[in-house]
């Protein structure tokens, strides 16, 4: 297979403008003749669906939620980056581009990231026009804060609810188009499979979660905006329903999966409290603007935090990375926390926690300012833990948060399957091996508002798409397979629930393919996963029927795909004999710092499904750096 990334030629700064000028256009009268399916209505999907409908395309949008406003994007707290340089602190498109490339540990495509930085400024304008209530200064101008991995203040925010406000903005634009009849919105419908006809993506199979009905839908192009797969670990900061099914099904139909092992572990989450734990809660990274992270210097020191004098505390991030300190990138901060805890200096139950302390900030700025900045986050912390962070330092621990890997796409966001576009967290494109804070919202909206409206037109204008109908054999075969899957899951009649299998799979992944990985561990995981999968298909119980709302069945269909996908992640992690960003292989390090191997691994690993998840075929897209120099990431 020839992996063409279709990056336009010419200087970096001009690639996107030139490409836009050269892309073919669909004339306005013809747009309404094209049908586009958008799966997922989070930031990426809602922005894409609304914009394509504004342009005149016929859009059908799908989500398993009861409303687009519930998508996981809603939970993003901290903010969204943009190279506006409103603070005049030296920011620029180039600097945002460079920070993102470096933050990603030089494992992302230059051209994509540069375009992302370019359109970042338009996103803010667009959202303001929609009425997104971004935080303002007293003078009436937009306010900014700082985020990890950057030394400028370029993050726009709406209290601690930035994702909510951006999603509501996109949701409102989408509902406007629904009201106008330009988008047909299908809520509570889960995509079960992709339909490929003559080598092109031409439709999907869905299951109505309320009635159980399996349906097929045909279109000229399919956009997957279905989010990330962090829930393969069971415990993560993702919403409970997030899953890999749509992406994995597309993979099984021929779409390559890029860098599946690149997972982001977020350093500031509330630690696990018991084995009933159903998810983990993120404490926004913005807290690291004012909070100081520390552990006791002495092992097993179990005095209360206020009993530990200043000189017996180790502010380890400030010590190890003096120039970025508490704002070091996520992968680095997470590993440093793990290191401290592995060293026996962790705090709280089980020693799996470190302090995030606001005492100094409260002294310096006053309680009121801290309340204004983080009030809702402090409240959330107190609700969950029963402790008041204004008087006792927060306890935090790293947790799975984001997946940089995803379906492989070219510069136009099209996968290797013509007609299948992938947007937002579901694609692999912009964050390399580690994503910087406040960059996922930026990417989702860049993809949906500013990239796909052009590149989709370019694809459709090329023509060659004959009409397909859902009674074609490809549709019937895929629908029958989905029916069969549901039927099988309902009739195993074993003893264990989907949640119990999901938990066990998550534990395997966390232990062997989590924050630190090594060859022996990954090989163990590759032995355990198929064993667990076999038990799943023999010993699962799913009470109830397939003809009504059945949440256990929904969970089972998703866990079934995680069971296979987990293997692909481990295969990828095992093959990458280097450490980079969120992928830390213990064999490859320099005193705890990730050691890249640029000679052998400066490529995107794009995996092809072969019928056996343990034996995918590797395709390499070499990453060419023409504008930045590969350097060891240093935040010291």
């Amino acid at each position: 297979m020839d992996l063409k990334n279709n990056i336009p030629s010419g200087p970096l700064e001009q690639k996107w403008d030139r490409h836009r000028a050269e892309l073919k256009l669909v004339n306005p009268a013809n747009k309404r003749k094209f049908n586009v399916i958008v799966v997922g209505t989070g930031l990426a999907g809602a922005s894409a669906a609304a914009t394509l409908a504004e342009l005149g395309y016929n859009v059908q949008a799908f989500t398993y939620h009861d409303s687009p406003r519930r998508a996981h994007s809603i939970a993003a707290q901290g903010g969204i980056n943009a190279a506006k340089n409103y603070q005049n602190d030296g920011d620029s498109v180039w600097r945002l581009f460079y920070d993102t490339i470096k933050g990603g540990d030089f494992r992302a495509r230059e051209a994509n990231v540069y375009r992302l930085a370019q359109v970042s400024v338009n996103i803010i304008d667009q959202c303001v026009a929609q009425g997104v209530p971004f935080a303002r200064e007293y003078g009436g101008y937009l306010a900014n804060r700082s985020f990890g991995g950057a030394q400028v203040s370029r993050t726009f925010y709406a209290r601690g609810q930035t994702g909510q406000q951006l999603l509501i903005g996109a949701y409102q634009a989408l509902e406007r188009q629904v009201g106008l009849g330009k988008v047909r919105m299908h809520t509570k419908k889960e995509m079960m499979d992709l339909v490929v006809v003559n080598g092109r993506a031409r439709g999907i199979v869905t299951r109505d979660l309320t009635t159980g009905k399996i349906e097929t839908h045909a279109a000229d192009a399919v956009l997957l905006c279905t989010g990330g797969y962090g829930n393969v670990f069971y415990l993560s900061t993702n919403a409970k329903a997030c899953n890999v099914t749509a992406a994995f099904r597309a993979h099984k139909r021929g779409a390559l999966f890029g860098n599946p092992c690149y997972t982001q572990i977020h350093p500031t989450c509330i630690p696990v409290s018991g084995d009933y734990q159903s998810k983990l809660t993120l404490m926004s990274e913005s807290l690291r603007n004012d909070g100081r992270i520390w552990v006791p210097k002495k092992r097993g020191d179990n005095r209360a935090p206020d009993q530990i004098p200043e000189d017996e505390r180790d502010y380890y991030l400030e010590r190890k990375y003096p120039s970025f300190g508490n704002l070091s990138p996520r992968d680095i901060a997470s590993r440093a926390a793990k290191e401290a805890c592995d060293d026996g200096r962790g705090v709280g139950p089980g020693g799996l926690g470190v302090y995030l302390d606001f005492a100094d900030a409260i002294k310096r700025l006053g309680r009121k300012t801290i309340e204004d900045r983080y009030g809702n986050l402090f409240e959330m912390y107190e609700r969950i833990t029963g402790e008041d962070p204004y008087s006792v330092p927060m306890r935090i621990y790293p947790a799975v948060h984001y997946t940089m890997g995803g379906l492989w796409v070219d510069y136009d966001l099209m996968s290797n399957l013509p007609g299948l576009f992938v947007l937002g967290e579901a694609n692999f494109s912009d964050h390399g091996a580690n994503r910087l804070g406040a960059s996922a919202l930026m990417q989702g909206l860049a993809d949906g508002y500013f990239v796909i409206p052009y590149t989709l037109g370019g694809y459709l204008a090329k023509g060659g798409l004959d009409t397909v109908y859902t009674d074609a054999p490809e549709f019937r075969e895929a629908a029958a397979a989905a029916e069969q899957k549901v039927h099988t899951l309902l009739n195993i009649n074993g003893k264990r629930t989907p949640a119990s299998f999901h938990r066990e799979l998550g534990k395997i992944m966390w232990d062997y393919c989590g924050m630190a990985r090594n060859e022996a561990g990954l090989k163990t995981a590759l032995k355990k996963i198929p064993e667990l999968r076999e038990e799943f298909w023999k010993n699962l119980t799913v009470p109830g029927s397939g003809e009504a709302l059945n949440q256990t069945l929904e969970h089972a269909t998703r866990v079934a795909d995680f069971m296979e996908f987990a293997e692909l992640m481990c295969v990828d992690a095992l093959h990458r004999n280097e450490s980079c960003g969120g992928h830390f292989r213990e064999e490859y390090q320099d005193e705890g710092e990730a050691k890249r191997n640029d000679d052998d691994y400066t490529y995107v690993a794009a995996w092809e499904y072969t019928g056996d998840t343990a034996k995918p075929v590797l395709h390499k897209e070499n990453l060419v750096f023409e504008n930045v120099q590969l350097a060891t990431r240093s935040y010291k």
Binding site: D66, Q126, G131, S278, L549
Partner: protein, 249 residues
């Protein structure tokens, strides 16, 4: 701790529902309310029984998916707290807890504690947006907005669309939800152009969906997990009245 739960069970929209009683042991005070229900459901499934259907997703109080009436109060006893953020330390050993779905004509029960809230989306479709197309907006700082206005808009925009206000209202009115959206957009310069038509169209749709009218009980404000103030309802009524007077069609 040990709890006795009385939970509304209803197999489908047209089925007869009833409260069923379950005893649950070994509940930890650190569990969230939904984790307590997870544990119950796991036990039911291990016995081959159908678990209790309830809606949830983020479990962080922001997506607005969860919602159930707990001991007569939407989202339970704690003020400004969604069901998913409620923790069992609020209850004590031996407590009896009644758990029921939102009850409103415009929110039909789908199953057990799950209701259909698509009526909210249809209210938004009638005007809960600013009619701008993507792509060529002016610079974000071109319209300065005072911090006070931005903060006010944000107060209203914080609504999570959960429907607790409707569930709490004796008339099952959706005034607070609708007023929050109208208030968010009316607080900003961007929202002025369509301000009055927006108020009219959204309020009419609210009525068409079968939500009741407001007779000033303020139960909505008390139940709202995001602290949306009932003052927004007064503001909405003013815009609605003004629209009626100035309407030229």
């Amino acid at each position: 701790m040990r709890l006795r739960l009385h939970i509304w069970r209803q197999a489908g929209p047209d089925a007869q529902g009833m409260l069923k009683t379950y005893d649950l042991d070994n509940v930890s005070e650190h569990m969230s309310f939904l984790e307590m229900l997870d544990v119950l459901n796991e036990q039911l499934m291990e016995k081959g029984e159908e678990p209790v259907a309830f809606d949830h997703d983020c479990r962080e109080g922001i997506c607005g998916t969860c919602g159930m009436v707990i001991n007569g109060r939407p989202h339970g006893p704690l003020a400004r707290t969604t069901a998913c953020q409620l923790h069992m330390r609020t209850f004590k050993d031996g407590d009896e807890i009644y758990i029921e779905p939102w009850r409103a004509t415009a929110f039909p029960v789908v199953r057990d504690l799950v209701v259909d809230r698509s009526s909210f989306d249809r209210i938004i479709q009638k005007g809960g947006f600013i009619s701008v197309n993507t792509g060529n907006a002016q610079d974000g700082n071109a319209i300065p907005i005072s911090k006070t206005d931005a903060d006010r808009a944000m107060d209203a925009a914080a609504c999570i669309g959960c429907g607790a206000c409707v569930a709490a209202c004796p008339n099952a009115s959706a005034m607070l939800f609708t007023a929050a959206k109208i208030g968010h957009l009316a607080s900003l310069p961007q929202g002025q152009a369509e301000r009055f038509s927006r108020a009219t169209n959204m309020v009419l749709q609210m009525d068409a969906e079968g939500f009741g009218s407001c007779t000033n009980h303020y139960e909505c404000e008390a139940a709202c997990p995001k602290g949306i103030s009932a003052e927004w309802i007064a503001a909405m009524n003013r815009d609605f009245a003004k629209a009626a007077i100035t309407s030229r069609d």
